[in-house]
Symmetry: C2
Subunit: 527 residues, 2 copies
């Protein structure tokens, strides 16, 4: 394993600042840990300029070439899987099976986008035919398709070192859309990042992509990230992380002379509603499922169920008893970074100081490990303090005991934007409380019934994104094929000769894609 | 004609502040001009609250009810067409045939959205079927469709008192999407606005829409607009106007505790490139066409061709001679408002002070009318000053004489974001200068060949929107059916029972719409 600790600027490596930061991985010769140089403003400028220079060539490549590039990235990652997993284990403290599965997911995600490109209809080709005889004026032919925005900056997440990192959803959807990417690695896993970054570079070289289609910068300070967001050649931004970090980047991007779209996925407590009928059916197994979901991966999923709501009842009591018992047997673990562990401990201390909160129980943890915990609070007290909706990243749950279903509805109406919400309901609950679903869909990106929120399918219908503060742009997703729409915009071509149109819009429909012609979806060849 | 001068807050009228402002229309009894009260913060709060209260009812209505509402709006406007046109003529100084045509266009626009709703596929229904046997975990059914964002604020434009105003594209696309609208009337045509606002209210009452689905506030100060943008219940903003105004509202919206999307359509100079081969074919008729396009409607179209570029040549000389001659016979006219006329005069004075600019010619205008004007500048001088790309709203054109096509390409690469660009090219020009088109599509929303930019078709493939500073969100359009996507976001429903799903997502496909099922477009009924 050869690690340079440098910036990857297109097909070159570059030294960063003399300010270095340590990875958590020791070098083979035991001469210390791998060191990484912090990206300088000059590094970032070079990466952005190379991305811009690569953009026109890259966007004009036949779609088959972009497919080859994506598939080559997947192959390169798969080839070094046995190097990647142990490195990521050391850098993130996530277990081997999870990381192996995450590589599978990352490869699956790349293939999803490769297949989307092969099928081709995603460009939303629209053709309105000319009407030369129209009175009082002839109508020209107008056609439209989605075109790439330009160079994109992506900030990787700490909690998914593969699926939301270097070759994760944001990078791959941007590359699929035709946008070069300048990637800012998360300082929590710089070695993993360099290794995956090199996979993308190798894939780009092997498939003849232009130099600059991908760059990777390292850095632990916020300045390097800020310089990237402010760079005038960057045209959009993908980010996964904290509300504070995401909002800061959003503000910076909005203040640019030319504002750019920011797709920041941030905090979420993913409220879970347990309706009375369903809760009464089997409170114990429900409690077990939710403890498992809440403590999975040391609670470090963005869809972690952080707030669980129910109505005071005998079955709620049974649920709580079982929840406490299951929790007492649940393992905590080392969190992703020391900073994240520190924040978790701090938030637990804060919650302990709330007079209205009562500790329900704790799980098992060694020193330096996050301890799973749960608190209870009455619906009335919960409604008094909107700050209880804040996310506490880690294996923590707040169990809210409402007086009645009406109070649950009031709480539902107060929920700030969330990635997901889950409702546990039987057929009677559904018909008695339809209003709850009408409220909840206004608050979230994804509503589930009788499913735990952890486990985000990478598929076409997935919406992983919700109203602020869950994200800064609820109109898009960061998981699933629809993520490609983050990095494109429609362009209309009016009265163009056939040979000048992209193949997607030519009368002959050479790519055999679905198109909307005069308002009707069709694959037909036009005369 | 009964004009109250009040705020229309849902189904009630409300007095605004005692600060009044005058319309330009005299009352029948000659007791003075119609007076309008400025909306207060309380008026705006009430309108936003009513919109929010109406939202859930409105979004859940069967789509056929929304269609009825839209069609009723069109009918109400058509019914009072003979009142509307003379009023709008007085308020905007636009001529009768233009305003009559604009009403037709507005009605056509409403019908476009009504038909889009009837056809139904616009919701982008996506269904990924369950795979209960999948290993290691079963896959739940997940489906997705576009859902409305919530109450929308719309700021009307001065230059289209119907098509971009009260019942214009922004209002109608928001209503079509399922969003209530709080409309801020342009102070340039308050009487027209009240009349059209009442048409929407009448239509809403007749078709049983909830109180609050539409409100209209009047105001001349910037405070009322700011209060509307800052209101926490407003979830998106549509605006058509100046760069300064649009950017101010964008900044305000980005600074909200919960930022919201802003769709501001702002300045554009819509550069026109005359390639040598085409220019040589018939420079005189090209000059005539462009003078006509530039002076149409006193140059007050957002797609007005404000910059015309060509290469120094004999045919360019012929073009310029004819341009000056045609311009000398072109009529100016009264502009929309005194403020707009003042700004036009100021910008002409500024341009006259540029040493590199030479006056090519002027048109005909009475006192207080805007005079059509054209200046020439060399490509080299033009490249020295990026401020020459700024819009001067009115019948003004800057004619840029480049040394060669290479210089044209350099200028194309420097263009800030535009709504449109037009290229005049014959077959030889197209094949010789393909690169120009690859550059231009990165800069604009719509590229045309051999068409003047004025004349924006209201159709499916129209993209009326481009990179900043043309708009604040290049990913959407303000004209054409795709405008509906401004006011929606995707919501996923996971593991839902059939009866709880919206009809668009039910297996039976009761609305018979196109849906993407497991990645394939189909209208099929699912088992």
């Amino acid at each position: 394993m050869k690690i340079t600790g440098k910036q990857i600027i297109g097909y070159s490596n570059a030294d960063g600042a003399t300010d270095n930061f340590k990875s958590s991985i020791a070098m083979k010769d035991n001469s210390g840990q791998y060191m990484f140089s912090e990206a300088t403003a000059a590094n970032i400028d070079e990466a952005a300029k190379k991305a811009d220079a690569a953009f026109r060539t890259y966007k004009l490549l036949p779609v088959a070439d972009r497919v080859n590039f994506l598939e080559a990235i997947a192959a390169e990652i798969n080839n070094i899987r046995e190097t990647l997993v142990p490195v990521a284990m050391q850098e993130t403290h996530l277990p081997q099976p999870r990381l192996n599965g995450e590589i599978d997911r990352t490869i699956g995600q790349i293939n999803l986008f490769a297949n989307l490109l092969k099928e081709g209809s995603w460009v939303n080709a629209i053709i309105d035919k000319a009407m030369p005889e129209r009175q009082p004026l002839p109508k020209p032919q107008i056609c439209q398709m989605q075109r790439p925005l330009g160079p994109v900056a992506v900030f990787g997440a700490s909690n998914f070192p593969f699926a939301f990192s270097v070759a994760g959803g944001d990078t791959i959807s941007a590359l699929a859309a035709g946008c070069p990417v300048v990637y800012k690695a998360h300082f929590g896993h710089p070695v993993t990042s360099e290794l995956v970054g090199n996979c993308i570079i190798e894939a780009a070289k092997k498939t003849g992509m232009p130099d600059g289609v991908f760059s990777l910068i390292q850095g632990k300070t916020i300045e390097s990230g800020q310089a990237l967001v402010k760079h005038p050649l960057i045209k959009a931004l993908g980010f996964t992380g904290s509300l504070r970090g995401g909002r800061a980047l959003f503000d910076l991007a909005a203040q640019r002379p030319e504002p750019i779209p920011v797709y920041a996925e941030m905090g979420s407590v993913n409220p879970v509603f347990l309706l009375p009928g369903k809760l009464n059916e089997d409170p114990e197994s429900l409690a077990k499922s939710l403890v498992a979901s809440n403590t999975l991966g040391v609670g470090q999923f963005c869809t972690n169920p952080g707030i669980i709501l129910m109505v005071k009842s005998e079955s709620a009591d049974k649920f709580l008893t079982q929840y406490a018992e299951s929790l007492s047997g649940a393992n905590g673990g080392l969190m992703l970074t020391d900073a994240i562990y520190g924040a978790y401990c701090k938030s637990i201390t804060e919650l302990e100081s709330f007079p209205s909160l009562k500790l329900l129980g704790k799980g098992i943890a060694d020193a330096n490990q996050a301890t799973p915990q749960a608190f209870t609070v009455s619906g009335t007290d919960f409604l008094k303090d909107q700050s209880l909706f804040e996310e506490h990243f880690g294996p923590m749950a707040l169990l809210v005991i409402a007086d009645n279903v009406l109070q649950l509805l009031t709480i539902a109406g107060n929920i700030p934007g969330q990635l997901t919400t889950s409702v546990w309901a039987n057929a009677n609950d559904v018909s008695a409380h339809k209003e709850l679903f009408d409220i909840l869909e206004e608050k979230v990106g994804r509503v589930m019934i009788n499913n735990v929120p952890t486990g985000v399918e990478v598929t076409h219908a997935m919406q992983h994104g919700g109203p602020y503060p869950a994200t800064t742009d609820s109109r898009t997703t960061s998981v699933g094929s629809q993520a490609i729409y983050r990095f494109v915009r429609p362009v209309s071509y009016q009265n163009f000769p056939q040979e000048l149109l992209p193949p997607e819009l030519q009368n002959g429909n050479p790519l055999n894609i679905w198109r909307k012609v005069d308002g009707q979806l069709t694959k037909e060849v036009l005369a």
